[in-house]
């Protein structure tokens, strides 16, 4: 029987392309904002070109994201369901503030029906359906500054557009930091990264050695182990 994949290829391709492009945009964006004569690594002109190209590509990948969500069914993981807010958010926050330290089981382990915990879902919704569109729209607007209104909300020129673009990008950068950190909360530090790379929970199962870093995660209650169990059950059925 064909092995079931935890994350389909398109999703992993989108995710890692997104990650690479966002890092490029972050570096070039910071370089432009804090531009100084002779500042490394690329220089202002190259920063602009690379930032623009990466921005266009990232917008394209957002199209893939929307297609995957609305045409391929991945959007169901983003739907807020009963219990997500109350008690979901509280349980998840309590887990991150205490349970994760004392080895409590993950309150919302991965499964084919639920890939995001309530807090994760809320953040992803805000990031992908609010902040990212704002970033993309303002970014594209800055491609055509001559077509923008002379003043926006009383702020003349492109100032407001640039300001919103810059600081929305900053907020998304902070999200990325937390996102990467929470990627280490699998059964081992690298388990969730491998899972996202290979897409198969079986291959993502940790070897005994890294599990020792966080012994409590080696239990069958850990998030991905639970997912792996689901996958194995489906294989056996």
């Amino acid at each position: 029987m064909k092995r079931r994949s935890g994350y389909p290829l398109w999703l992993r391709f989108w995710h890692w392309s997104n990650a690479l492009l966002f890092v490029i945009l972050l570096i070039t964006g910071i370089s432009m904002h804090y531009s100084e004569p002779g500042a490394p690594p690329l220089g202002f002109r190259a920063d602009v070109l690379v930032h623009n190209a990466a921005g266009v590509l990232l917008s394209g990948f957002y199209g893939l994201f929307l297609f995957g969500n609305f045409a391929l069914g991945n959007g169901r993981y983003y739907k807020v369901v009963a219990g997500d807010i109350e008690p979901g958010l509280i349980r998840q926050v309590r887990y991150y503030l205490w349970g994760i330290f004392v080895g409590s089981p993950h309150p919302y382990p991965h499964s084919d029906e639920r890939k995001f915990n309530p807090l994760q879902k809320l953040f992803y919704l805000v990031v992908m359906y609010l902040l990212f569109p704002i970033l993309a729209v303002t970014g594209w607007a800055l491609f055509f500054p001559e077509r923008l209104p002379e003043a926006t909300l009383g702020v003349p020129g492109i100032g407001l557009w640039a300001l919103v673009h810059t600081y929305t990008g900053f907020c998304l950068s902070l999200f990325m930091v937390v996102h990467v950190y929470l990627g280490t909360t699998g059964a081992s530090l690298g388990e969730l990264f491998r899972f996202m790379w290979f897409g198969e929970p079986n291959r993502a199962q940790p070897s005994p050695a890294p599990a020792q870093e966080f012994p409590e995660k080696s239990s069958a209650n850990s998030a991905t182990s639970a997912h792996a169990e689901v996958a194995v059950l489906k294989e056996d059925s």
Partner: protein
């Protein structure tokens, strides 16, 4: 002369004309004849100008006592007859004259290049009296465009401007770049005193970060007085320079920048503390 619409940048900054311009002086007698014609002097613009308090005869000293006039512009007294030395801090007319003599205008165009080739004494308002950088740029650039995008008709001028703009394609949004910046900002050396030393085009500034930076070149050029005033009042760095534009790398707000540093630092601190806590708890649980 075609340079009739051009403001004199620095060459005639002086206290006396500024005061005179603010007190709505009586119209010179010459205006009785010259007012109706669009080809001569705009009395409103002249009254607002830094020379608005002067009588025409202050400059037009020769050949105007008879009609028709025999005035020869080339024989008119040079501006340096009144404007010399260093009448106020930061202004040194001797350096300005030296700059003009070293510029391509004198070396390549006309050894007898005169101030009024670029600066109309009839409309000039000094940069220090301009509070809107965008409007000032239009005035400044018009003095260049009068020759460098010259045309007998509006269509011809537009065509000449397009050809000139094409030469600036190295910039992203090159049309906006040349509309939103004074030509002299890139075509002269750094520093306010160099504004009249027009360089050969091969030496024009091409490093984007010269302007797109915290200490933007633009701050050291025409609008130093605006930048210092605005910075002292509300902490916005360079913002007033671009009150109709946003300049990446230069339009920074120190409070926003510090806020982002603080938020990024706090995020990294919390993430680091959380990770360290996980490691410590796991370590002690594994030993117990």
């Amino acid at each position: 002369m075609r340079a009739s619409a051009i403001a004199l940048l620095l060459a005639s900054i002086g206290s006396m004309p500024q005061v005179a311009a603010q007190t709505s002086p009586p119209e010179p007698a010459c205006m009785e004849c010259h007012k109706p014609s669009e080809t001569t002097i705009d009395p409103v613009a002249f009254a607002k100008s830094v020379h608005g308090g002067l009588d025409c005869s202050a400059c037009h000293t020769d050949g105007v006592s008879k009609f028709p006039h025999a005035s020869n512009p080339a024989a008119m007294p040079d501006c340096s007859g009144c404007h010399s030395g260093s009448p106020s801090p930061g202004i040194d007319f001797d350096k300005i004259v030296a700059g003009v003599k070293a510029s391509v205008h004198v070396k390549l165009v006309d050894p007898a290049f005169r101030c009024e080739n670029c600066h109309s004494p009839h409309t000039f308002i000094p940069a220090s009296q301009m509070t809107n950088a965008a409007a000032a740029i239009l005035v400044f650039n018009q003095s260049c465009l009068n020759c460098h995008a010259a045309g007998d008709t509006a269509a011809a001028q537009k065509l000449a401007f397009s050809a000139l703009a094409e030469k600036h394609r190295l910039f992203p949004h090159w049309e906006l770049h040349i509309q939103a910046n004074a030509c002299v900002e890139c075509h002269t050396p750094r520093g306010q005193q160099g504004l009249h030393l027009i360089l050969p085009k091969s030496q024009a500034l091409r490093n984007c970060a010269t302007c797109h930076a915290k200490n933007s070149l633009l701050v050291t050029k025409l609008y130093t007085h605006l930048a210092l005033k605005e910075r002292a009042e509300n902490g916005w760095l360079n913002a007033v320079l671009f009150n109709n534009a946003y300049l990446t790398g230069a339009t920074r707000n120190r409070w926003l920048d510090w806020g982002t540093f603080a938020m990024a630092g706090l995020t990294l601190l919390l993430v680091g503390a959380h990770g360290a806590g996980r490691w410590l708890f796991a370590y002690f649980r594994s030993r117990s």
